[in-house]
Symmetry: C2
DNA sequence: ACGCGATAAATCGTACATTGTTTATAGGAA
DNA sequence: TTCCTATAAACAATGTACGATTTATCGCGT
């Protein structure tokens, strides 16, 4: 159904493990802004993703400045950064608002993921070290041990699992797109209070994936990831649709 | 060699033609910033892409403000927007610099293009109207008429050609990624003073593409685009490599 | 020649002025 | 009375000016 081959144009250096912590892959370049602007960016960003700021809520510069004990300029700076990331919208002379993370937005992100992640996976399978594989199995062990008891912990572990794979990326932009995908998913799951369905499928797919990696079977791993992303995308959207219908009805 | 199928998750509305002019696909959201900041953003952006500002050149806020007859705040705003787009880097307490568009950067962009554009093409083939096809043929006529005599005009026409295809996008993010690809290519071609090789191939590929679109042959069109992007990527990188070697030697 | 201190320059944060938008209120007509 | 409109006042975004802090540069002394 889906089938994505990786395409490499020109040679490349292997990505350092270090530039891809459990933290953001330095959105194009690290924090960049100065101390206050950057920390405000982090804070407001978390407020948006965690849902403490509602969709379409106005982001009044003077309020935010007062609340965080700074003046307005650092706030403007943070908002511009968030705008670049797509979490905030601006209307001229009317200021900023929290961008609602709607179905169209989520759908688009997942579809990009379906195109990108298999290629990253293919590269990982070819480059994975024994340490990488051991780390994957360790995390998978923790995931199965947790067994969805703590959904927050599951989400963290799942991110860790994929981070191990994508820290060996062949393409920084692609890896950043994946990270954005993750962040949006985090936002959605906070807002719509996810209960993960597909539990058995998730465990099974991860195990299958590890097997493919061990066997050096890039094609099948890529295919598996494509279906994995597609499936979870459909599930998330279905959940959003149901919730919105319930809210409207 | 490459083969990308499109994946659709959930239903969607057809993109309006109007939201995808010959102008940028409203980078996540239109201009956004206020009049002055936005126009500065445009101006500085063009200065960077057109090469009037050199790679790694310092972007001193006060200078830019004086030059454009404003105060510093709109300049800071514009620079933050450019940072979000990746054309400018920041170092805390040391300000902004023009990000050099190096081979790694270009390679990454093209590889994303290879993954994204075939999917957009597939969608276009399925949704194209007779007017779309007529427009493609009209532009193709102009391209062949020009026959690379004016390379700038060729570039404009080529962009128009692809814009016709991608204005019928199924995924806004994907279309924006394409646009970014275009902008980077424009920057590279200005800096490295392109002489387009592959002239015969470009004409031939466009004709083939139109034929596939007319026949409703999505698979072959997507495959063709994948090879088209890959080929032009390799060519661009080869050109950059040669130029850099010449400059160093 | 090399480290060290003074000076210059530019960023970053703050305070303020201006401009545009929203809201509330008063007045008038149906 | 009720609804609409016009006007004014509050509110907030945008632009300007300035001071504080950090960084870079240059020259001096050893």
């Amino acid at each position: 159904m889906i089938s994505v081959k990786m395409c490499m144009i020109g040679e490349r250096a292997l990505a350092e493990t270090s530039d891809f912590k459990a933290e953001p892959p330095e959105g194009i370049d690290a924090l960049g802004a100065s101390s206050e602007g950057a920390s405000l960016y982090q804070l407001i960003r978390e407020d948006i993703i965690e849902g403490r700021l509602a969709a379409n809520e106005r982001l009044v510069v003077t309020d935010l400045a007062r609340r965080h004990g700074t003046s307005t300029n650092p706030v403007r700076e943070a908002l511009q950064l968030l705008r670049g990331e797509g979490f905030v919208t601006f209307v001229p002379n009317r200021g900023a608002r929290v961008r609602p993370i709607d179905q169209d937005f989520v759908r688009d992100i997942y579809e990009i993921g379906v195109l990108i992640e298999p290629a990253l996976t293919r590269w990982f399978v070819n480059m994975a070290t024994v340490e990488d594989i051991a780390e994957l199995e360790r995390i998978q062990g923790l995931i199965e041990e947790n067994n969805f008891a703590d959904t927050f912990r599951h989400s963290e572990l799942d991110t860790a699992f994929h981070t191990v794979m994508y820290q060996r990326h062949y393409n920084r932009h692609a890896a950043e797109l994946w990270w954005k995908h993750r962040e949006v998913l985090r936002a959605v799951s906070r807002r719509f209070n996810f209960t993960l369905a597909r539990r058995a499928a998730i465990i099974r797919e991860h195990r299958e994936l590890i097997a493919h990696v061990k066997a050096g079977n890039a094609d099948e791993a890529a295919e598996l990831i494509a279906r994995h992303v597609e499936g979870s995308g459909r599930h998330v959207l279905e959940h959003m649709r149901a919730r919105n219908a319930a809210r409207a009805g």
